[in-house]
């Protein structure tokens, strides 16, 4: 009782108490429920770091080894937790080092708030030490950005930042705070932002469009669903499952939609796109109604737009009006969160069983299984394949792990061969294809979902782009499992060189260091496997480890990912070899 009254008194007092801008930054973060941030200190952000020191029992700061690591960790955290990730850096190089991750978060709709320090407002525009115009630079890759030059702006602007990052179609927000604003004083009062008059995050659902969609779906003989990350962002997994099951519709995922529906679900036909599964790619051009749910028809999904699903009526469910007709012309567009729109649609849907249509998927899947999947996971060649490594991890984790893949062949093998039982199990750089994403993102993923197993799957190229984050893992003791698939090549580029550039392997051969020595230098358990008979034991040892663990697997040098839709080809011309 006594403590209660005491607490009340202090809050009352706080309202009128003048505090510094830097403290207001911390208090604003706490008011948003943030207890974990990722960053790197430097001159122009030092006042805020000083407050971190004072508030360290309430706000945990993860010191990464590079600002890019901080933003990717924040992204990994946001993707698995559904919360806003926060990254913080100093001005100049600190801020520019965040840019790749900001662009990544923009294209993959990840809610992150970046806070950057800035030189004092009296120095703006004078080419001061570590001054960059980060607001201009980040304009095209942020959902919103703003430069604070007065301490009194801090609570309101940060409240806006969190609201914008998380609401509607999520995205990155950058707030640049001049040093004098951090030192300046203000009367602190925090009000969460609930509305901005020029911003309409969720367009109103138009029931006539829902009815039109239902009519098309009920009449369809060969309906086909492609679902994307919008389903996960809207927490609409159950609604999607209900639709698929009720209407008997085969469904496939985009790269970022993976895990929204369990891999083993009988109507889950796998992944569409450049290295997606054979059946859903081929049958995209055979379906009569294509139902796109929370996805954006990326060119890696559609191949040549001129020949993409031309036979089909297209229904597009999305939260972002600018996605409608952007790449693929739709017959019916249903705006709103897919949770709301699918919930409105489902009662209008009839069961519509077409066994023949499902059989077409099964037949094509059988072709892919025999030509590609089976030989990949049961190879007769001496060298290990990437597919069999992922398969071994699958067996050990039973599909319960969060897979954080990097970019390239490792990413495509991880996405094709990993099993997912629950949603938010996939963290990868989809739209931007940022090599080096996985290692720092896995740190954020583990901190965002501490009870889950987190396995990073990385190539030898991408691993060396953010290898310094081993230091973050060492210092924070975050128990992530790191698998490097080492083929001593930049594998995906090499595959393209093999297929489209007459095997001229320009700058794709890697001379690598001894990864085991490096990782051991960071005090992380490490093992190398290059023989099939040692693989499963090594994987189970890794998964069983309570601490972080590094497993390097030497895989065949010139393995290729198939199926493949070459750039600009028609989706149904997906190649099996």
């Amino acid at each position: 009782m006594e403590t209660l009254t005491k607490a009340k008194k202090t809050t009352k007092k706080e309202k009128t108490l003048k505090i510094k801008g830097a403290e207001a930054v911390v208090k604003s973060l706490l008011a948003e429920g943030i207890d974990l941030i990722y960053g790197y200190p430097g001159g122009a952000i030092m006042p805020v770091y000083d407050e971190f020191y004072k508030y360290q029992d309430k706000l945990h700061h993860v010191l990464t080894r590079h600002e890019q690591g901080a933003i990717h960790a924040a992204q990994g955290y946001a993707r698995v937790s559904g919360k806003v990730g926060v990254a913080i850096a100093t001005s100049g190089p600190g801020a520019t080092n965040l840019m790749t991750g900001i662009a990544d978060a923009q294209i993959d709709s990840t809610p992150v708030v970046c806070i950057t320090g800035q030189v004092g407002s009296n120095l703006l525009g004078s080419d001061a030490f570590q001054e960059t115009d980060i607001v201009s630079m980040s304009t095209t890759v942020t959902k919103w950005n703003y430069q604070i030059t007065k301490a009194s702006e801090i609570p309101e602007v940060l409240a806006k930042a969190f609201y914008i990052a998380k609401s509607g179609r999520p995205g990155p927000v950058l707030i640049d705070i001049t040093k004098d604003a951090q030192f300046g004083e203000l009367d602190f009062e925090y009000k969460k932002c609930k509305k901005i008059r020029s911003y309409n995050p969720i367009p109103e659902m138009d029931i006539t469009q829902v009815l039109a969609a239902a009519e098309l779906i009920n009449k369809a003989k060969k309906p086909f669903i492609i679902f994307g990350q919008g389903v996960i962002l809207a927490n609409a997994e159950e609604e999607l499952k209900e639709l698929i099951e009720k209407a008997d519709i085969p469904a496939a995922s985009t790269l970022l939609g993976l895990s929204a529906i369990p891999t083993e679900h009988e109507f889950n036909m796998g992944m569409v796109g450049m290295h997606g599964h054979y059946a859903p790619n081929v049958l995209t051009n055979e379906c009569d109604v294509l139902i796109a749910i929370g996805m954006r028809f990326d060119d890696r999904v559609t191949g040549n737009l001129e020949t993409y699903a031309k036979q089909a009526k297209v229904i597009h469910f999305d939260i972002d009006p600018s996605e409608i007709d952007k790449n693929v012309k739709t017959n019916v567009a249903v705006l709103g969160t897919v949770k709301e729109t699918l919930a409105a649609l489902n009662p209008l849907i009839n069961s519509n069983i077409n066994k023949k249509w499902h059989q077409e998927f099964k037949d094509l899947h059988k072709i892919e299984h025999e030509a590609i999947i089976h030989p990949e996971i049961n190879p007769t060649k001496e060298k290990l394949t990437m597919g069999e490594v992922i398969n071994a991890i699958n067996k050990e984790t039973k599909g319960e792990a969060i897979i954080v893949s990097d970019v390239g062949q490792n990413q495509m093998f991880a996405s094709r061969y990993a099993n997912f039982k629950q949603s938010k199990s996939v963290v990868t750089s989809g739209g931007l294809g940022t090599m080096g994403f996985s290692l720092p993102a896995s740190v954020g993923a583990k901190l965002g979902a501490p009870s889950r197993e987190v396995v990073a799957i990385i190539g030898d190229g991408g691993f060396q782009m953010t290898i310094q984050e081993l230091g973050t893992i060492m210092q924070t003791k975050v128990p992530v499992k790191i698998v490097v698939l080492n083929n001593e090549f930049l594998g995906m580029v090499r595959q393209w060189q093999e297929m489209f550039f007459d095997k001229r392997y320009a700058s794709t051969v890697m001379t690598n260091p001894d990864f085991i020595s490096i990782v051991k230098g960071y005090g992380i358990k490490a093992k190398r496997v290059n023989k099939r008979e040692n693989l499963s034991v090594a994987v189970s040892e890794m998964i069983a480890s309570k601490d972080s663990y590094f497993l390097e697997v030497i895989v065949e040098k010139e393995g290729n990912v198939f199926p493949m839709i070459p750039t600009g080809a028609t989706v149904s011309d997906v190649r099996l070899k």
């Binding site: 201009s136 304009t139 914008i164 901005i196 008059r197 020029s198 911003y199």
Partner: protein, 174 residues
């Protein structure tokens, strides 16, 4: 699809950096902005931008989508020339002696409905508002006499249809 001139009207909050955001949308898609005007609008604290560009209807729709997506943009519209009432202004600076030596100039000014804004011993300034073609015609007529300076403003326009911005703002706040 055929390219044509579209007038894009954007109602926005008056915020630093927003113009940068909007012009980037054009730059990213390699669309040249033919003219751009920023001014206050009929609503307090709301800025109106008028951008003229030459593009297809398909593209202008996508551009509008991207513009409206920006947090501080309240609403954006696109209109063809037929759907809007628009003018531009131009100033011509000409040597004063011509006004007396070349009688024809006085007729040109009169016939083109231009105004003399100022006359000094060295130069005089003519102002002409109207469509771009009318300004171009006046330019062509004055050119042989020598134009010391010429400047033309961006297009300003109002639409024939009603814009319900105030209602929209009220709705968003409720």
């Amino acid at each position: 699809m055929k390219k044509q001139i579209y007038t894009i009207s954007i109602y926005t909050e008056n915020n630093l950096g927003l113009l940068n955001r909007i012009s980037s949308i054009f730059l990213k898609r390699h669309i040249n902005i033919e003219s751009l005007t920023a001014s206050s609008s009929e609503i307090e604290n709301v800025t109106r931008l008028i951008i003229v560009a030459h593009l297809t209807e398909e593209k202008v729709k996508k551009v509008i989508g991207q513009i409206e997506k920006q947090i501080e943009v309240i609403k954006a519209y696109y209109h063809t020339n037929e759907e809007s009432i628009y003018i531009q202004s131009a100033l011509f600076k000409i040597k004063s002696n011509l006004l007396f030596d070349e009688r024809q100039i006085q007729n040109i000014i009169k016939n083109s409905n231009a105004q003399i804004v100022t006359v000094s011993p060295e130069f005089f300034v003519i102002e002409k508002s109207g469509r771009k073609e009318e300004i171009d015609a006046l330019y062509d007529e004055l050119l042989p006499f020598g134009i010391m300076q010429f400047v033309r403003s961006g297009r300003i326009s109002v639409t024939k249809e009603e814009m319900k911005i105030s209602e929209l703002l009220k709705k968003q706040l409720n």
